[in-house]
Subunit: 338 residues, 2 copies
DNA sequence: TTGTATGCGTTATCAT
DNA sequence: ATGATAACGCATACAA
C-alpha cells in the first residue's frame, strides 16, 4: 500500500507537506505541490479513508436502514427505487452507503450502536417500524437522520404526499360515477392514517357516505390479507362498485379473490391500487394507481442529510413533501348512470 | 464517545488490559475481565470499527458491485434478491456491506481504487460488464473477489445453472408437442453463450432442427428490443409455435407485440421466459419460466468470500453452480398433433 | 497477570 | 514555505 510516507520519501519533503499539497492547502509552494501530486499519481497513491476518518472524525459514509418488518425490504420495488436514488445522490456528494442492521455477527447491537460502530456521519431511515424502540433511539440520537414517510420531532423527513394521492384517486373514481367505494387499508401507521383521513374527507366533500363495513383492515404488501378483506366485501348484501387497495402488490390478493368469484375487472368491479410500481403497469388491464415519487424522495433524503452533516450550524429540520402522479390505468369502469 | 481509555480510568487498569479483556484474551484475570466488561457496558462503550480497522488491517467490510450497464441495477428483482441474500449472510458472519461504484463525489476512481479507498476486505461482483477494464482490474487484483455468473481465472464464482435451465425448458415445450421453437437471446455474454449452446444442443438431441431465422438477438431486460425481435418472428412465412425470451421482463415487450397482432397466449403462440422473478407468476396467464436460485447464489457468494478473507492459506478458487427450478406456468400450449 | 511502548495513515498545530 | 510532533482509538509485542 502506498502511503503519504512513500510520497514524502520520493519527493524529499515531510509527510505534513505531502498531506497539505494533496489537500490543496494554501501554504505550500506551487512547485512542491505539483511535484507531490505527480509522484502521488506515479506511485498509485490512494488516500486511506479509514485513517482519515479516524483523524478528522468524519467517515464520509452514510448508513441506510431498511428493516423488513412491514414487507418494506429491499426487494420491494418502491424501496429498491429509493435505495437506488439515495445511493446515486450520496455518491454524487462524495459519500458511500452502508447498510445498518441489528446484530452484526456475534455482536448484538441495535441500530444506533451499529451506526456509531461504523462511524456513520448520518443515517437515512428508509423503511422501518417507527414504534420500534431501537428506531426511536437512533432517530432521537445525536446522529443526523432523515426519515422517509414518518416525522420525528425536530428531525428532517421526506414525505410522500399521501393526502393528495388519495384525493386524486377518489376524485378520479367519482368522476367515473362511483359512489359506493370501499377502502382496504394497511397497518395503523401515520401513512395509513393520512390516507384514511384523506379518503374520508374527500368522500365527505363530494357528498359520498361510506358505511363502516366498507373500511377494511389488512396489511401492506401482503396479498393474502387483502384477499381476505376482498372476500368480506364481496359477501356484503350491498357490494361496493369500487375497491381501494393498500398498495399495488396487495391488489394481487384481491385479484385472485375476484377471479375465484368470476368477477371481471373492471366490468363487474373497479379497483384502485397505490404506489405505481412498474409491475402495476404491466398487469392487464393496467392498474389504476398513484405513483409515489420514490426517485425524488431518495434524492432529497440524501441531499438534506448531507446538508445537515456538512453545515450543522445552518441546519434546520424540515419536512419535504414529494408529490406523485395518478396513473389512470384501465381498472375503473365508467358507470353508466349516477 | 466512550473509548477504552475511559474504561481504563474507571477501572484503574491500563488500556492494554482493557483491550485484552474486551477481546477475551486468555492472559487476564477473571476478576478484571468481568469488571472491565461491566464498566464497559455501564459507560455505554462501543468499539470503534474505524480505529480497529486501521490497526489490524481488516475492515470487516465487504463491497458489493452493481454496475448498471446491462439493466442489472438494484431494482431488478433478480439482483435485489441477490443483494438481500448477500447482505443477510455477510451480516450473519459479522461483515458490513458497502456499495462500490465509480466516481465518488469529486474524486474520480475506478472500482479497484474505490474498494482500496474503503479498505474493503473483499468484493462481491454481482452485476457488471465483465469486459469493462475497470471490472477486470478489480477481479484480477489482490483483493478477494467473488463474481456472479462469470468466471475469472483462479477466482471464485457462483454460476446459475444456465445449461440445465435451458435443457429443462426445451424438454418442457418439446413434451407439449412443440417443434418450431424460436429463441430470442440477450447480448453476447458468457451467460448468453451457455444458454444458446444448451438450447441448440438440447434441440439437436431431440432431433429438432432450428432454422437460423428462429434465433434472434435482443438485449436483456429491455422489453423494446424483444418486442422488435418478436415482430420479425411474426413476419416469417413459417412462424414458430413457441418463443423463448431472454428473460421475464423482456417477455413483456413480446406481449405488447403479440397483443398488437391480436395473437393470444398460449392459444395462438406459446412463450417462455427466464429468471422466475415474482412478477412472472403474477401475470395472467402465469409465465412458463425458469427460476434462478438467486437467494442461494447470494448466500454462497458471501460465504465463500468470507472464507477466502479469513483463511487465505486454506483457500482455493471454486466455481459453484446453483440450480434453479422450472415454473410450469400456463403460457405453453399443448399441441394436439405431433 | 498487568503495564509500557509503539504504530496503523492521516491531519492539525505550532515552530522554524 | 516547510517540518517536527502529536493525536485520533485500538491492538499487540514485549517487559515487568
Amino acid at each position: 500500500m502506498v502511503t503519504i510516507t512513500d510520497i514524502s520519501k520520493a519527493c524529499g519533503v515531510s509527510r505534513a507537506t505531502v498531506s497539505k499539497a494533496l489537500n490543496g492547502a494554501p501554504d505550500v509552494s506551487q512547485d512542491t505541490a505539483k511535484r507531490v501530486r505527480e509522484t502521488a499519481k506515479k506511485l498509485g497513491y490512494l488516500p486511506n479513508a479509514t485513517a482519515r476518518a479516524l483523524k478528522v472524525g468524519r467517515s464520509y459514509n452514510i448508513g441506510i436502514l431498511f428493516s423488513d418488518t412491514t414487507g418494506g425490504g429491499i426487494s420491494h420495488e418502491y424501496f429498491s427505487q429509493i435505495l437506488e436514488s439515495v445511493k446515486a445522490e450520496a455518491e454524487r456528494l462524495g459519500y458511500d452507503i452502508t447498510f445498518i442492521s441489528k446484530d452484526l455477527g456475534a455482536m448484538s447491537m441495535d441500530y444506533y450502536e451499529h451506526a456509531k460502530y461504523r462511524s456513520c456521519d448520518g443515517v437515512v431511515i428508509a423503511s422501518a417500524d417507527f414504534t420500534d424502540p431501537a428506531i426511536i433511539r437512533l432517530a432521537t440520537s445525536e446522529i443526523p437522520t432523515v426519515t422517509l414517510d414518518y416525522t420525528f420531532d425536530s428531525r428532517t423527513s421526506i414525505l410522500s404526499d399521501n393526502v393528495k394521492g388519495m384525493e386524486e384517486l377518489v376524485h378520479f373514481v367519482y368522476e367515473k360515477g362511483h359512489r359506493k367505494i370501499a377502502f382496504i387499508h394497511g397497518e395503523n401507521t401515520s401513512v395509513t392514517q393520512k390516507r384514511l383521513v384523506s379518503f374520508r374527507k374527500t368522500c365527505a366533500a363530494l357528498g359520498i357516505e361510506i358505511p363502516p363495513e366498507y373500511i377494511c383492515p389488512a396489511r401492506y404488501h401482503d396479498p393474502k390479507s387483502s384477499g381476505l378483506a376482498t372476500r368480506e366485501l364481496l359477501a356484503l348484501s350491498d357490494r361496493p362498485t369500487c375497491i381501494f387497495y393498500p398498495d399495488d402488490l396487495s391488489f394481487l390478493g384481491g385479484l385472485s379473490e375476484l377471479d375465484r368469484h368470476d368477477i371481471s375487472i373492471p366490468e363487474e368491479m373497479s379497483v384502485v391500487g397505490y404506489d405505481g410500481i412498474p409491475l402495476s403497469q404491466v398487469l392487464r388491464p393496467k392498474l389504476t394507481t398513484y405513483r409515489q415519487g420514490a426517485e425524488r424522495m431518495g434524492r432529497e433524503a440524501a441531499r438534506l442529510l448531507v446538508e445537515e452533516i456538512e453545515s450543522p450550524d445552518l441546519w434546520l429540520p424540515q419536512q419535504i413533501t414529494v408529490e406523485g402522479e395518478l396513473l389512470p390505468g384501465k381498472t375503473v369502469r365508467d358507470l353508466p348512470d349516477n
